[in-house]
């Protein structure tokens, strides 16, 4: 029995749609989503993947089918039919892609708004600019009147202060993090889960870029400028923080760790950092010892008896 071509078209269309929907959800191309923003961005990507799979299969299918079906048979030296166009068809394949890209644009716009792309306010966020001025590296004329770049607060949190502020400085080939509330400075980023963190960044020497693939967020850290990312981590774990802008020969080695942990673990870590820095402080205090005690370890090495030092007039 001959199956009419309209039935074939319908069947192929259904299969194409099903395959596209399945692949768009099961592509396995993205790492774990560890932030609120990542979930939103993944939703956008999955939708684009569904549409793309459909278009890809359609174009490749037509291309391969036409190549095989309409290949020239041996001995046939005639031309094909003189079809020069088909206006309704051309309008259709102009309109459909236009509708698709408008749809993707609107969806992207929504997601961009939801992750906070529109809630950056130049230099008006006072705590940022204050911190910014005291950050290392900003001695280079930081012009604060420029529009700030990056990702700001989500619409729900707009206008509220961030729950944690971290200042980040990129330099060849390391990241420095400082927590202005506690004064902790470290080389790896710790953030508590479920709390909105504002990351202010700049760079000391050349342009670097702050990227955590699991957060799906990236922002250039530019010398002489301030930029920022505001995000809410949603999944405990250790992730890589990668410099994503070419910054020199050891660019590939410029990476550190982001630790997303519970609030308690985060507090404890902060305490440890503080104790560690106090110990350094204590060592510095210890330098105010009387000279003989201070010199004791050195003199012992030199073979000078400690009593001799007491004789030394000072």
């Amino acid at each position: 029995m001959e199956i009419p071509s309209s039935i074939w078209t319908l069947l192929i269309g259904i299969v194409l749609t099903l395959v596209s929907f399945w692949y768009g959800q099961n592509h396995g191309l993205l790492p774990t989503a560890a932030s609120h923003e990542a979930t939103l961005i993944d939703g956008l990507f999955n939708t684009m993947m569904i549409v793309s799979t459909g278009i890809f299969l359609l174009v490749e299918g037509v291309l391969i089918y036409a190549t095989i079906r309409y290949r020239r048979r041996a001995g046939d030296n005639t031309d094909g039919p003189a079809t020069e166009g088909n206006v309704p068809l051309e309008i259709l394949w102009t309109a459909i892609p236009a509708i698709i890209v408008i749809g993707i644009s609107v969806y992207s716009f929504e997601v961009y708004n939801d992750i906070g792309g529109f809630s950056l306010h130049g230099g008006h966020e006072a705590p940022i600019t204050q911190e910014a001025m005291s950050m290392p590296g900003t001695a280079m004329a930081a012009t604060l009147d420029k529009d700030q770049a990056g990702v700001g607060a989500t619409p729900e949190r707009e206008g509220k202060p961030p729950q944690l502020v971290v200042n980040v400085t990129g330099l060849q080939y390391a990241w420095l993090f400082s927590y202005p509330e506690t004064g902790v400075s470290t080389g790896e980023l710790h953030v508590p889960i479920g709390r909105e963190v504002l990351i202010n960044m700049t760079a000391n020497d050349v342009i670097h870029a702050f990227w955590v693939p699991e957060f799906r967020l990236k922002q250039d850290a530019i010398p002489g400028r301030q930029s920022q990312i505001r995000l809410t981590p949603t999944k405990v774990g250790d992730y890589a923080l990668i410099c994503a802008e070419l910054c020199g020969p050891y660019h590939g080695a410029m990476r550190t760790q982001v630790v997303v942990e519970s609030q308690e673990a985060f507090n404890q870590w902060q305490q440890e950092q503080l104790v560690a820095s106090e110990e350094t402080l204590n060592k510095a205090v210890a330098l105010n010892l009387p000279p003989d005690e201070f010199l004791a370890p050195y003199t012992r090495e030199m073979g000078i008896h400690s009593e001799m030092l007491h004789q030394v007039h000072h």
Binding site: T67, Y70, D79, S105, G117, A149
Partner: protein, 554 residues
Amino acid sequence: MTQATLQETDNIPVHPQESGERKWQDFFSFNTDHKVIGIQYLVTSFIFYCIGGVMADLVRTELRTPDVDFVTPEVYNSLFTLHATIMIFLWIVPAGAGFANYLIPLMIGARDMAFPRLNAVAFWMIPPAGVLLIASLVVGDAPDAGWTSYPPLSLVTGEVGEAIWIMSILLLGTSSILGAINFIVTLLKMRIPGMGIHQLPLFCWAMFATSALVLLSTPVLAAGLILLSFDLLAGTTFFNPTGGGDPVVYQHMFWFYSHPAVYIMILPFFGAISEVIPVHSRKPIFGYKAIAYSSLAISFLGLIVWAHHMFTSGIPGWLRMFFMITTMIIAVPTGIKIFSWLATMWGGKIRLNSTMLFAIGFVGTFVIGGISGVMLAAVPFDIHVHDTYFVVAHLHYVLFGGSVLGIFAAIYHWFPKMTGRMMNEFWGRVHFALTIVGLNMTFLPMHKLGMMGMNRRIAQYDPQFTSLNEICTYGSYILAVSTLPFIINAIWSWLYGPKAANNPWNALTLEWMTTSPPAIENFDQLPVLVTGPYDYGIEHRKQDANPELREVPL
């Protein structure tokens, strides 16, 4: 259906030998014949393609393992910087200019370009610029700040290498501008009488759109690079933040040229594919005007999308949205072209020779680059994958899967006209098969690498990415091998290949209406337009007069 026939006998020079044969020395001298210059462009750019390809394979060899174990990180950075610069400015852009030089005067029935001497000057700027660039390796201070050369990095890496890079790009940019002026004037002023703009072959439309882009955008790059050279050599601080300069301004100036450059590199081959597909499908091009005007639309839109390269840099939110929408819109005219090519093939009588295989490969792989391009335009997703291997995958699908396959399709198609010899079909197919396999093996896994977290321009990477990187590296070796059958085939065929007929493909555009290779002055008498450029399958009166013309070997 009957075979469309041609007025070829009308236009063949009566005394093709009269003005003398080309000597091989002509190809090494300051010759003003557009055909000599076209071949000079093509051969020169192909040599640079091989050099850039060796660099790509060195980069891939380093990336076979996660550690830095093949070259030093400094050399690695120079290799990818030179690879990108050579492939863009010394291979794809001049190859497009080569075809335009060779074909435009022939296609419009002119005897030469509008400004033959300027044409030769434009070509002869390329070899010194290329030698200068590669000489930086000998000096031991090759540029290593990426082909984007962003300050402040480009100001603190090797001063000599960076200065050489700027000089070389300025020369190449100037050459490109001179070429573009020539193409535009030639296209506007030198068409044979009776050839209106809607009888113009689509390659000419594409070159018009390309040349307009070159003229509008290249001067901005030149300005940016001159300012950069002041910062580098004279201590000014246009882009240097230590003196209050702004590195983001450089990025705007750079991408104002370098995004249109993508269209400068792809539009000529959109044009070439629009020539190849109707000839070998034996059908008129589907939607001539849609394809012609979509080139102009792409050219215009191409000027207002540049900041999509800067979504994670220092630009405000509303600007990100503006550039997202303009970038998305470019998908529409590009889609029109792809669907029109498919419709041209549909129902045709497709000759599956090397030319057509490369054209089909072009459509099939370019689509992947086009789709990932729309994804990259979506700002939230771009924030994740910007500066990762996803972008590397995308740009290679566009520039290799698009431009380079387009170049090969065009070479197989016009080789008989240019040299008067046929290329070997078997080795052409081997070349195609190896290229398609190598290309997809090299670049397809890069999409996943980028999304999973591998950033670009790095000599060492997270060991979790090793297996995918190994696939990419072996794919790149296949690509290297794929060039060999082509080189041998081209050289052997040029010397000993079977003689080509004047019109071996039964095409209808004017370049086929003269001898192969064309006489020095192209046409003895000005050709007369009897058919449109794509009137396949349409019967003409003259066919009965010359029935023997149907017996043209394929």
